[in-house]
Symmetry: C2
C-alpha cells in the first residue's frame, strides 16, 4: 500500500516505521523544519523495542507536499491543533480514491477531515501504542500496544476498505482491531487521555506513580462520567464501569510511561492538546447543557500551567 | 496583657514578637522539638520588615505546658490539624477567665475550641499578615497586613473582651478590626486560602504569577461561589462579588508572596491544611446536598500532590 504519514512526531514515526518495515511504500510529511531536515538526511531513526533502527523514506516539508504522487492512504498524526492546516496542505496529494485515516488523540477530528474530504473516504480510530520523541532526530518506541479503526460513513465500499486497512496494519504488527462504531472508541480513548494524560501532566508523574495516590480512582471515575454524559448527547453511550476499568488497566501495561501531554508540556514546554480532550467535553457540555465541572477545571488548570511556563 | 502564643511557626512568631515588643507579657509554646530548642536558646528570631530582631521570651514544649502561670489570653497559631491536640495540651494553662483566640487559616476551628472551652471564652478571627519560616530558628516577616476578630458568643462580657483584645493588638501594630460576625470573616478569608493558597500550591507559583494566567479570574469565581453556597447553609451569607474583589486585591498587596500552603508542601514537604479549606467546603457540601465539584477536585488534587511527594 502506498501510504503518506502526515505528521511524523513520535507516534507517526512508529506507524511509518512499522508500515515501511512490512513492505509498504511509505512517504513522510512534517511541519517542523528541524524534523524534516533530519528525516531527509537520516530517515526515520528510532529505538524500537531496544534496538536502534534507521529506515530511509521519502520525506517532505508540509510546505512542499508533492502533487505527482498517488497515495492509497494518508495517515494523519499531527498534534490536534495542527490537524486542519495539515489536511489543507495535504489536499494536493489526494486523488479521488485516496483514503484519510486519523488515529490521533482527541475528540472531534473527523469533523475537521470532513470539512475538506468526502465522509466516505474518512476513517477514524485511535491507538494505545506509546511513543516518545527523545530528540528531533530520534524516537523511543517501547511497550506493547494496539490500535482500532473503522469507516466513519457506514456502507460499502467503506467497510471493505476499513477491513483492508486492518489487514495492512496487522501485517505491519500494529495489532489493529476493526471497530463497529469509531466514535465510541474515540470517546473511550478520550477518557484515557482526559484522565491519565491530563492528571500526569498536572502532577508531573507517570501512570504508576499516579495510580498509587489515594484519590486516583475517585478522580478517574468523575472524569469518565463527564465524558459519558457529553458522549450520550452525541449518540455515543459509554459503559462507565468498563471504561474506568480500561483506563486503570493502563497502569499495568504502560505504567512507566509519561503520556504525550506530559512530554509536550513538561518535557518540551509546548502547548497541549487539552482543548481536544477535557476541553472538548467542557465546551460541548456547555453546548448541550450538561455540567462538566471536573473537565472545566482541569482544562483551565492545564492552560494555567501552560501560561506559567510560557509554553509555545 | 499576659499572653501565651500556642504554636509559634511563622505567623505565631509574628504575633508573639509584635505583642512582646508592645510590652505584653508573652510566653510561647510549640510542638516541634527543634523549634522549641531554638526558642529556648535564642528566643524569637526574625527578619521584621528588613531588620534582624531577636526577642527573648519564656518558651515551652507542648509536652511541658506550665500549670502555674495565669494567662489572660491563649492565642492559637498551630497548623489546623494540630489544633485539637494543642488545645488539649494547653488546658492546664487555662484559668476560669483565660480567653482563647484563634486567628488561624481554616474553617470550623471554633468548633474544636468549643469542645474543650466554654463558648463565651472563645474568640475567632483571621489575619491577612504574611509570614514565612526560613529555618527552624528564623522567620521572615515582610509585607503589610491586618487582622480581624470577634467574640463567638454574642453579649457581655464577651463583646467588651473582644474590644479589649482589639485594643491590645492595635497597640502592638497588628492592625486589628473588630468584627460583627466572625464566621463571615472566617469564610471570607477561607475564600482567599481556598483559591490562592490552593492554586499557588498546585501550580508552584506566587500570587502575581498566578494572577497573570488566562483562567485566573474564572477559577477564583467558581471556587468562591462554592464557599458561598456552603456558607449559606451555615447562616453565613457571603457577597460573592465583594469576596472575589477581596481575593484579587491580594495580587497587588502581597503578590510576591508564596502562600503558607505552598511553604508547607512545596518548600517543606509537609501535608497541607487543605481539609480545613476547600476540603471543609467539599465535606460540608456533601452534608448539605450542595454540589462543590471544584473544591472536591482541588482537595483531591492537593492530596494527590502530597501523596506523590511523600509529604509528612
Amino acid at each position: 500500500m502506498k501510504v503518506a504519514v502526515a505528521g511524523v512526531g513520535a507516534m507517526g514515526t512508529r506507524f511509518a516505521l512499522k508500515l515501511k518495515q512490512a513492505g509498504n511504500n511509505v512517504t513522510v510529511v512534517d511541519g517542523w523544519q528541524e524534523r524534516v531536515a533530519s528525516l531527509k538526511k537520516d530517515g526515520l531513526r528510532a529505538n524500537l523495542d531496544g534496538q536502534e533502527v534507521t529506515v530511509k523514506v521519502p520525506a517532505y516539508g508540509q510546505w512542499e507536499v508533492p502533487r505527482d504522487h498517488h497515495f492509497d492512504l494518508v495517515l494523519f498524526f499531527t498534534k490536534s491543533m495542527q490537524l486542519e492546516q495539515m489536511v489543507r496542505d495535504m489536499l494536493p496529494a489526494f486523488d479521488d480514491d485516496t483514503l484519510a485515516l486519523c488515529l490521533m488523540n482527541g475528540i472531534g477530528h473527523e469533523k475537521t477531515l470532513e470539512k475538506y474530504l468526502p465522509k466516505e473516504r474518512v476513517f477514524l480510530g485511535n491507538t494505545m501504542w506509546t511513543a516518545q520523541m527523545t530528540r528531533p532526530d530520534h524516537v523511543l518506541l517501547e511497550d506493547d500496544g494496539t490500535c482500532e479503526l473503522s469507516n466513519v460513513e457506514p456502507g460499502e465500499p467503506q467497510r471493505s476498505q476499513a477491513k483492508e486497512l486492518v489487514k495492512v496494519f496487522k501485517a505491519a504488527g500494529l495489532k489493529p482491531r476493526l471497530l463497529d462504531d469509531p466514535r465510541y472508541s474515540v470517546f473511550r480513548k478520550g477518557c484515557v487521555n482526559g484522565t491519565l494524560n491530563t492528571l500526569c501532566t498536572l502532577f508531573e508523574c507517570n501512570l504508576t506513580e499516579y495510580s498509587k495516590t489515594s484519590h486516583a480512582h475517585e478522580m478517574v471515575v468523575k472524569i469518565v462520567k463527564e465524558f459519558a454524559a457529553v458522549g450520550a448527547k452525541e449518540g455515543v453511550n459509554l459503559d462507565v464501569a468498563e471504561v474506568v476499568d480500561h483506563v486503570e488497566a493502563s497502569y499495568d501495561v504502560i505504567g512507566a510511561h509519561y503520556p504525550s501531554m506530559y512530554q509536550d508540556l513538561v518535557k518540551n514546554n509546548r502547548r497541549t492538546e487539552i482543548d481536544y480532550m477535557n476541553g472538548y467535553v467542557s465546551t460541548h457540555g456547555k453546548k448541550y447543557g450538561v455540567a462538566t465541572p471536573y473537565c472545566d477545571l482541569l482544562t483551565a488548570e492545564v492552560h494555567t500551567k501552560e501560561d506559567l511556563q510560557g509554553a509555545q
